[in-house]
């Protein structure tokens, strides 16, 4: 007995025999499996190739000695594409150059003491906090460590923040 033999005889005449239908379904199923395999393979192929290029060569950046940076100043650190801000009270912030709106590079306007984005006119203050929208949040920060007066910036992953809080500022150790 072939499966489906209980069908109406008239139908069986018009429709292809059930064995052929069964084989066709197997072919179609195999095709879908092959397609899925290709897609999965392609996805892994593409993502694994990416990791190698994603790593930055030197995530730890030595910016300089504490004494090199006057208070109330903003210095462009070319290598990391970021700014090192020294606030009036002597604390440090490493601020990303990338506008949080749509990613343009934000220049520091020394005469007006603020960051002004050329793309859609967002303005940030010396701590990177938003003065004028459309930027949705303050400029990203990089972790700063100060060890024996040497300032090191970890450029591997920028920290998102909504605004400026005093805890973000890093102070050099008091000299005994």
């Amino acid at each position: 007995m072939v499966p489906g033999a209980g069908d109406d005889v008239g139908d069986a005449m018009v429709e292809p025999p059930s064995r052929r239908r069964f084989l066709t379904n197997i072919w179609a199923g195999l095709g879908v499996v092959a397609l899925l395999q290709f897609l999965a393979g392609a996805a892994f192929f593409l993502t694994s190739g990416r990791k190698r290029t994603g790593k930055k060569s030197a995530p730890l950046l030595e910016a300089g000695l504490v004494g090199d940076f006057p208070t109330g100043s903003v210095t462009l650190i070319r290598k990391g594409n970021l700014y090192l801000t020294r606030l009036e009270d002597g604390g440090f912030l490493a601020i990303s150059k990338k506008c949080t709106h749509l990613g343009c590079a934000v220049p520091w306007m020394a005469e007006r003491k603020q960051f002004e984005c050329p793309c859609h006119a967002s303005i940030f203050d010396i701590t990177g906090d938003v003065i004028k929208a459309p930027a949705p949040r303050a400029l990203d920060l990089y972790p700063v460590t100060i060890n024996r007066d040497m300032i090191t910036i970890d450029t591997s992953n920028p920290l998102r923040r909504s605004g400026f809080t005093p805890e973000q500022v890093i102070y050099p150790e008091e000299r005994g």
Partner: protein, 347 residues
């Protein structure tokens, strides 16, 4: 032999009414012609272009300045790429107002939408290739818009860029999409698109007011009636593109510099509507809700109820308002936004 090739794409006889220029405005044919031209000019450019940062810019400079006809070929490729986006937008409008997307043409409308997405992809991926300041920052801005997509935004952006920033990986990715993925898929779909027009019984000819006459009596042979018209029109369009590209060079700014954003930089013009909207409404709306609803609306369009083969008044009103809205936003973004996105007059 060439005539039998022609007859693979076209029926032997066509209704006389289908030849009326104002029925189609030649838009679909124009798009096909432009795609073929893009393939040819792109092929030529590909012989000299190098898809690595710095070398990319230098090779484009080389094409532009020291290769015979290099600037013309590059300008043609550049301008046709932009015209093509406009032409397919108009083609879509034409199909909409003729109601030529209902069954049996429903599937072809969907194929057409896919081709539209591919053409935008082609234009956008080509944007980065010259590696000048404009391409670098326009692509930075456009891919940054992705980061506003909730939850998956930043990973989407990283996939698009091939890394955290626009760089060598992005260029390579965009290059292979631009020169392999898009042309191959576009050509496959184009064959399907043309074949389907025939399968649906030719282009949609609106019924005459007095529908007494039979179609057969008013049909004419496709060769020469249709062929000659198509050839003449193709020649005219080609002339216009050539003249335009001879007189207006494709721009090439300074080499891309990731440290310095030039003062007036904008996303590619077809994204300026979304970018303009981004200034006025929450990002989720501009980046997520808007494109999704446009896509959904256009996809579901051929499944809506029709009235005498035309969309209902509600659908028409929705479509026209949406299209006008996007048009106004885009025009504002292109011509009325100056440095720092302040409103300026274009004159």
């Amino acid at each position: 032999m060439s005539s039998s090739l022609f007859l693979h794409f076209r029926p032997r006889r066509v209704p006389k009414d289908a030849l009326r220029f104002t029925l189609t405005w030649g838009l679909g044919g124009m798009a096909a012609l432009m795609i073929v031209q893009q393939l040819l000019t792109g092929l030529l450019l590909g012989f000299f272009y190098e898809p690595v940062p710095v070398r990319a810019y230098e090779s484009v400079q080389h094409i532009q300045n020291s290769i015979f006809l290099g600037d013309l070929v590059r300008s043609m490729h550049h301008w046709t790429g932009h015209f093509l986006v406009v032409v397919i937008a108009l083609h879509l409008l034409r199909i909409f107002f003729n109601g030529a997307f209902y069954p049996p043409r429903r599937r072809n409308w969907l194929v057409g939408l896919a081709m539209g997405v591919l053409i935008l992809t082609a234009n956008f991926s080509g944007y980065l290739l010259p590696w000048d300041q404009l391409s670098y920052w326009a692509v930075t801005i456009a891919t940054s818009m992705l980061s506003y997509v909730p939850l998956i935004g930043s990973s989407l952006q990283e996939i698009m860029r091939g890394g955290p920033e626009v760089g060598a990986a992005t260029l390579q990715l965009f290059y292979s999409i631009h020169t392999t993925f898009v042309p191959v898929s576009l050509f496959l779909l184009m064959g399907y698109h043309f074949w389907f027009v025939r399968k649906a019984g030719g282009i949609l000819v609106p019924k005459r007011k007095q529908s007494g006459e039979t179609e057969k009596s008013t049909s004419v042979p496709a060769i020469p009636e249709l062929l000659v018209r198509e050839m003449a029109f193709a020649a005219l369009v080609t002339c216009c593109i050539l003249l335009f590209s001879m007189f207006i060079d494709a721009p090439l700014g300074n080499m891309a510099n990731p440290e310095l954003t030039p003062p007036t930089v904008k996303a590619p013009w077809y994204f300026l509507g979304a970018q303009e909207l981004l200034l006025h409404v929450p990002p989720i709306f501009a980046i997520c809700f808007l494109p999704l609803s446009i896509g959904l609306f256009l996809t579901l369009l051929p499944f809506t109820r029709q009235k005498d083969g035309k969309p209902t008044t509600l659908i028409k009103t929705l479509f026209i308002t949406g299209a006008l809205f996007m048009l106004i936003l885009t025009i504002t973004g292109i011509w009325f936004r100056g440095q720092g996105m302040t409103l300026v007059m274009p004159w």
